[in-house]
Every structure is written in structure tokens, then in C-alpha cells.
Amino acid sequence: MTEKTSGLAAASGGPAASVDVPTASGPAAASALPAAGGGPTARPIRDGVGLGLAVGTSGLAFGAAAVGSGLSVAQACVLSLIAFTGASQFALAGSIATGGSLIGGVAGAVLLGSRNALYGLRMTGVLAPRGARRLLIAHGVIDETTAVTLAQPDAASARLAFRATFATLYLTWNLSTLLGAYGAGRLGSPQSLGLDVVGPAAFLALIWPQLRAGRTERAVGLLGAAIALTATPFLPPGVPVILAATAALAGALVTPARPAEPPPPEPGPAAAGLP
């Protein structure tokens, strides 16, 4: 990722990427350490590297779970390298463990990955991917990178945060997958270390600024959570989360974005679409 730093400067020069950064959440961005020291580039990098390290270590859990499910070490590693989207990987390993049909397992895992397409729709305005670089950027569009990227106050920070998160998480996730696959069972269980809470806590922390930003965001978040929980007993793992996108659809129908193209420079409650 480092060789792309020059690209960042070029990209941040263009006002193009303006569809973009959640004006409503603005700089209040919680994750988001009230910049105690460090220049404007420090925070996106700190956010991204911090989350990458914290969440990446849960690759230990995936590696261990995959081998426990009957995948080989190489298969576990290939999934982390090429699929690189944790929930889908866990879903496939889980379905192989239960001995279900492989086709069903693959379908569930891929369906689960479809939320990354929705994230991409949101991220394309911020990251403004072009040409061959799009192929690389695409690989990094997942839950964590989306959350950190969109929590940044401006487009340049957002792109920096994306790179920091993607690079750190990719390295950590793949290394820890390898370790977990080899060391399955020798480390303390992920649960005893509280690692099962890292995901939920990280996601909540990352959408916190948006939840604080407006009534619509809070309603959409609550509705999404409720939909997913309600559907969990009835649908295959992964599908309930996708279904939660209907909450965003409802929110968008009730409060469309203002038609004005460039977002106002200052974050205002108007952006939240308060009635």
C-alpha cells in the first residue's frame, strides 16, 4: 500500500470525491479521538492501524475454526487471502463443519459478501477509484475499512484511513489466520480473551458518530438491528444482516438526501434529514 501515497496526494487534490463523507457525522467522529496531538494525518492512520490490529487478530479465531471444520491450513489461508471478508469465511467454514451441501455453503458465504457491494456503492464517491487501482481498492472494501473510512471528517483523511485500515488488517488477518490454523487449540480460546466482543464493540464504536448525528440514523440503526435479530432464527446465517439493508431503504425513502450536489462545508443537523 505504501507505494500509493503519491496517488493520495493527487487524489486529495481533486474536489471530485464529494458525494461523500457523511456530513452529518462530521468531525465529531467519535471513534475519533479528539485529536490529542498529531497532525491531520495522524488520526486516520491511528484509527485504521488500531482497528486493523484489533480486528485482524481475530484471524486467529478463523484459522482455528477453519481447521476445526475440516479445511486444510492452505484452504484457510487461501480464503483469507482472496475472499478477505471475515463473515463469509466463517460462514463457509461453518457449513463445511456441519457437513451441509457445499453449494449451499458457497451460496450463503457469497450472499453474505454482497453487503460489500453495497459498501462499495457508498465508498466509490469517497475513494474515487480509477483504472487498474480499482482492482486493488475493491479487495479492501469490507465492514471495517468502510466504517473507519466513513468516520473521517474529509475525503483526504478518508482515503488515508482506508489505506491504513486495509493494509494493517490484510497483513494481520492473514498472518493470524496462518497462526490460528497451525496453532488451533494451543492458544487460549478466543472467548477467554474476550475476542468475541471485539467485532461488535468495534462496529458500534464506528457507527457511533452517525448514531449521534441524527434521528434518522438512530432509527435506521435500531431497525436494522431489530430486523437482523428477528430474522436470525428463520434464515441461514448471514442473510439476516443483508436483510437489514431494508432499514436503510426505508430511511432513504423517508428522508432523501438534499439534491444539492456538493455537501455544505459545515456539518449541520439538516444533513441528518430531521423532519
Binding site: V110, L127, P200, L204, A228, A245
Partner: protein
């Protein structure tokens, strides 16, 4: 084993293709205010759903893991106190780990 390899590779390719699709949608689609608002709200809805499912879900059933719930509660408290991101994560994992170590939950 071969079947498993096919499953692994098809899953990996499918996941990548979906990521690429999202970035390939023409920007003009986002000119529509409702589409743009939808794209803005999608991460909120999905990440909130993931938070809920990873907290209360156990495969295809719901369960109440007190340690996990306490960990998330600790995270909320830390967020309300405006703690930095990493502190939120460490507090959450630490609270769950501590409760389990003590055998409380």
C-alpha cells in the same frame, strides 16, 4: 478434498467479484438523492445489524451470553465517556474476559 477446494475458490472469487461490482456502479447512479441517501445509510443499518447479531446470535439461534453483553455494555459506557476507539475495544474485550476468568458469566 477437491470439492472443498472448489468451494473455497468459488467463494473467494464470488466475494471479490461482489466487492468490485460495488465500486463499478456508475457514479451517475448516485445523482439520485434517494439512492445517495440509501448508500449513506447502508453502513449504519448493516453494521448495527452485525453488532446485534454478533452480540446475541449463536449460529441460527439467539442466546444471551452475559460476558459478551457486559463487554458491549462496557463499550457503550466508554463511548458515552468519549473514550478513544482503541480504549473502547480494550475495555469491551477486557470486561468480557474478566467476567469469564472470574467465572461470573
Amino acid at each position: 478434498m477437491t470439492g472443498t477446494w472448489v468451494a473455497v475458490l468459488v467463494t473467494a472469487a464470488g466475494c471479490y467479484a461482489l466487492k468490485l461490482t460495488g465500486l463499478t456502479v456508475p457514479r451517475s447512479v448516485l445523482d439520485n438523492p434517494r439512492v445517495r441517501r440509501f448508500a449513506e445509510l447502508v453502513p449504519v443499518a448493516l453494521l448495527a445489524a452485525l453488532t446485534a447479531v454478533q452480540t446475541f446470535g449463536a449460529g441460527q439461534s439467539l442466546s444471551l451470553d452475559l460476558a459478551r453483553l457486559a463487554g458491549l455494555g462496557a463499550a457503550v459506557l466508554a463511548l458515552l465517556l468519549r473514550a478513544p476507539f482503541l480504549v473502547v475495544i480494550v475495555v469491551a474485550a477486557g470486561a468480557a474476559a474478566a467476567l469469564r476468568a472470574l467465572g461470573v458469566a
